[in-house]
Symmetry: C2
C-alpha cells in the first residue's frame, strides 16, 4: 500500500501535539534514526555499511489509553501507518517503519494498575519494562514468572504482541498461558476489553487474536496476568551426557513424567564446547568468571575468528571432536515438591547416561542469565555477526529438524544450538550462529544465506518458523509457506479489523 | 438473513446424494424431527406442549473431509444454512436449524488417524464419540483426560466447537489446553490445517478462533490432541465443611498451592443436602445405593414436588437448615506425587475447618459420574423441569456472584450449586435448578424467568456467562451485553470468514 500523507505532515504534527502535548511528539532526525531500527542484526550490518533504515515521520509518547485511541483515530482518518513500540529489542525488524508514519512508543504507559492478592492477578500497562515490573512484584513477594533474556530491554506489551516465552516457561508457562485479559485499541480507535474471568465458553478467544499479532491488528495498551508467589526454594542441577541423543531422551522423559523444571537447557556438543571449553569442569576457573555465559561464547569465538571465513570446515572440525551435551536444570516452588522433582529428574538423567555435574553449571548460568542481550555489539565490533534462530517441533521430529537445519546453516556460518523450552509434545531448538564476510556486502550476503538456508530447511522438515522471537519482516515471506491454508485467513482477519491497512505494515506479511 | 432455497430442494437433494451417496442423505419427517432439537430443556418443554421445533431440510452424513468440503461449497454457492452436528447433546440449542438447511452429522467420520507414542499425540476425526475414543485409548495404556458427564453422548468435534471442559480439567486441562492442531473446513469450502507443533510465535493462534465458534465459522473435521499415560494411581478423599465459605477457602488455597486434583467438587449446602440428605455419612446405606448421584437428587426432589410451586419459600426453608458443604477430591498420576498432593490437600482442608469423610463420597461419585446426562427425562416425566447454569468468575468475586445468582434464581425455582472447575484465579459455579408450573405454558414462563434472572445477575456481577456449556441460542442475547467492545469484533470475524452467513445461523448471536 502507498501512503500519501507527506503534504499534511505539519498539520498532523499540530494534531498529534494537541492529543499528547508538544513535549510528547518528536521529529528530529537523530530521534527518528534511533527509532528506525530494532535489534535485528541485519539492520546493524547495513548501518555499518552506511545504509540508513527507513525513518518514521513521528515518534509519539502517549501517557494513557485515551490518547492512544485518539492517535489511532487520527491515523485511521488520514491513512497514516502506525508502528507500536515497546523497548525496541525485537530481533526480526518488527518495529521498522517501512512506510514511515507514526511510531507510538508506549513506555510512558508503565503503571501497575492493580494487584489482586486473592485472585492472584496483576493488571499493568503495556509500556512497563520487564525488569522494573518483576522487581516491583518481587518486593511484595510475587513473581510474574516471565524471564526473557531481554527482560531489561523489553516491555509487557512487546511480550504480548510477539508471543514471548521466558527462560522459566516450563514451570510458569509462556506469555499466552499467563494472560487473563487484554485491553486493545483497535485499528479504528475503538477500545476492546476482554473479560477478566478464569475461563469461559463464550465464543472464540479474542485474546488469542491479538497475542502474536505484532501490532498488525491493534495496540495492546494493558493486560491482566497471573501472579505467582515468589518461590520458597530454588534448586540447581547439572548433567553431562555422552551424546546429544541421550540428553534429548532425558529431557523428553522428564517432561512426559510431568516434571516442571523452571529452567531446562540442554546444549548441543558445539554449544557445550564453546560455553565450557568441552571439559566436564564443575567449578569456575578463578581467572575466567564469565566463562559459561554468552559473553564467554563471544570471547571464545573471537579466538577462532579467521576460521569463520571457512564455515563448512570449521563446523566439521568442531563437530568432529565436540561430543558431550550439557544439561542444566532448575526447580523452584514448594520445597517438598521441588525435592521430589529433583530426585525424579536425577533418576531419569542418570538412567539416560548422564553424569552428575552438581549445582555449579546451573548456578553459573543463573547468575549470567540476562547477559546475552548485551553481547551482540561485541561481536559486531570484533568484525563478525551473530544471530539466533529459534524453531520448534515434535519430539518425533526433533533430531531430524536439528540435523537438517544444522547442516543447512553449517555451509554459511558457525552454528551451535541449545534446547531450552520443552513440552510434553516437543521442544524448541535455539540455534546461535556466527558468520562473517570479507566486506560488509559479503557479510550481508552471508547473513541472508544463513536465514534462507535455515528457514527453507525448517519449512521442509515441518518445524515452526519461530518458537518465541516472532516473524517481523525477517521471516514474513516464509510464514506464507508455513501457514498453507491459514494465510488467506490471516489476511481476511487483517482486512476485517484494519481495512485501511495502517497497523504496522509489512509485519507477519500482512 | 432470509434464505430462499425452497424451490431448488429436489435439485439440491440430487447434488448432495452425488457427494455422499443416496444412503447418506435423509429427508423423512421422523428423521428431521429427531435432528430438530438438542438437549436444551426448553425445547423438551415446548415439545410436551405440542410445539414442534423448526426442522432442517436435510440430514447428511459425510464420511470424509473432502465430502464435507464439497457439501460446504454446494451450500456456499446456493446460500443454504449449514448446521454441523456431533451427538446433539448440547443444552443451549446450538444445533437447532432455525432457518432450516442442511444438518451435517459428523458421526460417520469417527476414525482414529494416528497415535504418536513418542510425542504423545492423538489425531482423530471430529465425529468420534467421547466414550468410544477414551475406551480405545485406555486399551493401549493412554487417556485423553477429557471427561464431560456427556462423554457417552458427545463427540470430539462437539467438545472443540463448544470449548468443553471435562470433570478432570484441573489436572488435564480444558479442551483448548489439549488441542495442538485442527483441521477445519472453512465457510467457502477451503480446508485449513493448523500446524502440529508444540508451540510457536508465528502470528495469532488460529486454533483459538475455531475453538468455541459453535459451528458459526467453519466445520472442525479432525484434531490433534495431547495424550497422557493412563494414571498409575487414583486416590479419593472427602471432607465436610461447616460452611460454604470455609470450603471455598480450602479449594482456593489448594489451587494456589499448585495442587492438581483431577477432580475437585465442592457442593453448596443445598446440593450437599439433596445429594447426601444433609448427613455426614461415610458409608453407603445398603438400601439406597444411588443416593449421592444426580439420579438420587432427582429422586429426592420428587419427594418435595408440591413445594416447587413455591420456590421462594422452599429455597428459604432448605437454605435455613442446610449448612454444611461437602468436598470430594481425586488425585491421580505418579504415585509419589499423588501421595504428596493428598497429604498437602488434607492439611489445607483440616486447617480450613474440614472434617475428613474418608474415601467413600469421592468413590461413590466416581462410580456414577456420567449418570447426570440421563436423568433429565426422569424429571420431565415427573412433571417438573431441571436445567443447569454454569458460570465462572475470580476468587475475589466468587461468593458475591454465587449469592447474587442464587438469590435471583430462588424466586423462580429450587436452586443448588457445586464448584467443580477451580483455577489459580477463580472458579466455576454450576447451578442446578428445578422448577415447574401448573400448565406447560406456566412451565415455559418459569423456565424463561429462571434464565433471565440468572443471566441478568451474572452480567451485573461480572461473571462469565458460560463456563463450559457454550452460548447457542439460549444465551446469545446476553453475549452481546457481556462482550461489550468485543461484539463488533466477533461480527467482523464472522463477515470476513462467512460473508454469506450460512454457518449455523443465530448461534453466538452472529
Amino acid at each position: 500500500m502507498n501512503f500519501k500523507f507527506q503534504s499534511i505532515i505539519p498539520e498532523l504534527k499540530k494534531q498529534i501535539a494537541k492529543i499528547v502535548g508538544e513535549e510528547n511528539v518528536a521529529q528530529s532526525q537523530s530521534q527518528l534514526l534511533s527509532y528506525a531500527r530494532d535489534l535485528w542484526p541485519k539492520l546493524t550490518i547495513e548501518l555499518q555499511a552506511g545504509k540508513l533504515p527507513v525513518f518514521p515521520h513521528f515518534i509519539v509518547w502517549p501517557k494513557q489509553t485515551e490518547e492512544v485511541q485518539e492517535l489511532v483515530k487520527l491515523a485511521h482518518r488520514n491513512l497514516i501507518p502506525i508502528i507500536p513500540l515497546g523497548a525496541g529489542s525485537g530481533v526480526c525488524g518488527g518495529t521498522v517503519a517501512i512506510s514511515g508514519g507514526m511510531t507510538i512508543d508506549l513506555k510512558k504507559m508503565d503503571r501497575i494498575r492493580e494487584i489482586d492478592r486473592k485472585s492472584l492477578l496483576l493488571s499493568a500497562e503495556a509500556g512497563v519494562l520487564g525488569e522494573v515490573l518483576e522487581r516491583k512484584l518481587n518486593q511484595e513477594g510475587w513473581t510474574l514468572g516471565h524471564f526473557p533474556s531481554s527482560i531489561y530491554c523489553s516491555t509487557l506489551g512487546g511480550w504480548l504482541a510477539t508471543r514471548s516465552a521466558g527462560q522459566a516457561s516450563s514451570k510458569y508457562g509462556k506469555i499466552e498461558d499467563m494472560v487473563v485479559s487484554l485491553e486493545v485499541v483497535l485499528p479504528n480507535g475503538e477500545l476492546l476489553k476482554t473479560r477478566t474471568v478464569p475461563r469461559s465458553s463464550t465464543g472464540p478467544s479474542l485474546n488469542h487474536i491479538f497475542l502474536g499479532s505484532e501490532g498488525t491488528l491493534g495496540i495492546i495498551t494493558s493486560a491482566t496476568l497471573r501472579l505467582w508467589e515468589y518461590p520458597k526454594k530454588r534448586a540447581f542441577q547439572g548433567f553431562m551426557f555422552p551424546t546429544l541423543g541421550q540428553g534429548l531422551n532425558a529431557i523428553r522423559l522428564m517432561m512426559q513424567a510431568e516434571l516442571k523444571p523452571s529452567v531446562l537447557r540442554l546444549y548441543d556438543p558445539v554449544d557445550t564446547f564453546f560455553s565450557s571449553q568441552g571439559t566436564l569442569e564443575e567449578k569456575p576457573k578463578p581467572k575466567k568468571p564469565g566463562l559459561s555465559s554468552k559473553r564467554g561464547v563471544v570471547k571464545n569465538i573471537r579466538k577462532y575468528l579467521p576460521y569463520l571465513y571457512h564455515p563448512s570446515l570449521f563446523n566439521r572440525a568442531i563437530q568432529g571432536f565436540a561430543r558431550h551435551s550439557k544439561l542444566i536444570l532448575i526447580f523452584e516452588g514448594e520445597p517438598e515438591i521441588v525435592e521430589l522433582e529433583q530426585k525424579q529428574a536425577k533418576e531419569i538423567c542418570l538412567k539416560s547416561g548422564g553424569l552428575d555435574l552438581g549445582e555449579w553449571p546451573a548456578k553459573n548460568w543463573f547468575k549470567h542469565r540476562y547477559r546475552v542481550s548485551y553481547t551482540m555489539s561485541n561481536a559486531f565490533d570484533l568484525g563478525f555477526f551473530v544471530d539466533t534462530i529459534e524453531v520448534a517441533t515434535l519430539w518425533d521430529n526433533l533430531e531430524n529438524l536439528y540435523y537438517a537445519m544444522q547442516s543447512a546453516i553449517s555451509k554459511q556460518a558457525l552454528v551451535m544450538a541449545h534446547f531450552s523450552h520443552a513440552y510434553l509434545q516437543g521442544c524448541s531448538i535455539y540455534f546461535s550462529i556466527a558468520g562473517t564476510g570479507k566486506t560488509l556486502e559479503e557479510k550481508l550476503l552471508c547473513y541472508d544465506k544463513v536465514w534462507k538456508s535455515a528457514l527453507d530447511a525448517c519449512i521442509k522438515e515441518g518445524g515452526a518458523l519461530s518458537h518465541h522471537h516472532g516473524i517481523g519482516l525477517l521471516k514474513a515471506k516464509w510464514l506464507e509457506l508455513e501457514q498453507g491454508g491459514a494465510s488467506p485467513l490471516l489476511k481476511a482477519l487483517k482486512s476485517a479489523l484494519d481495512p485501511n491497512q495502517i497497523m504496522n505494515p509489512g509485519k507477519l506479511g500482512i
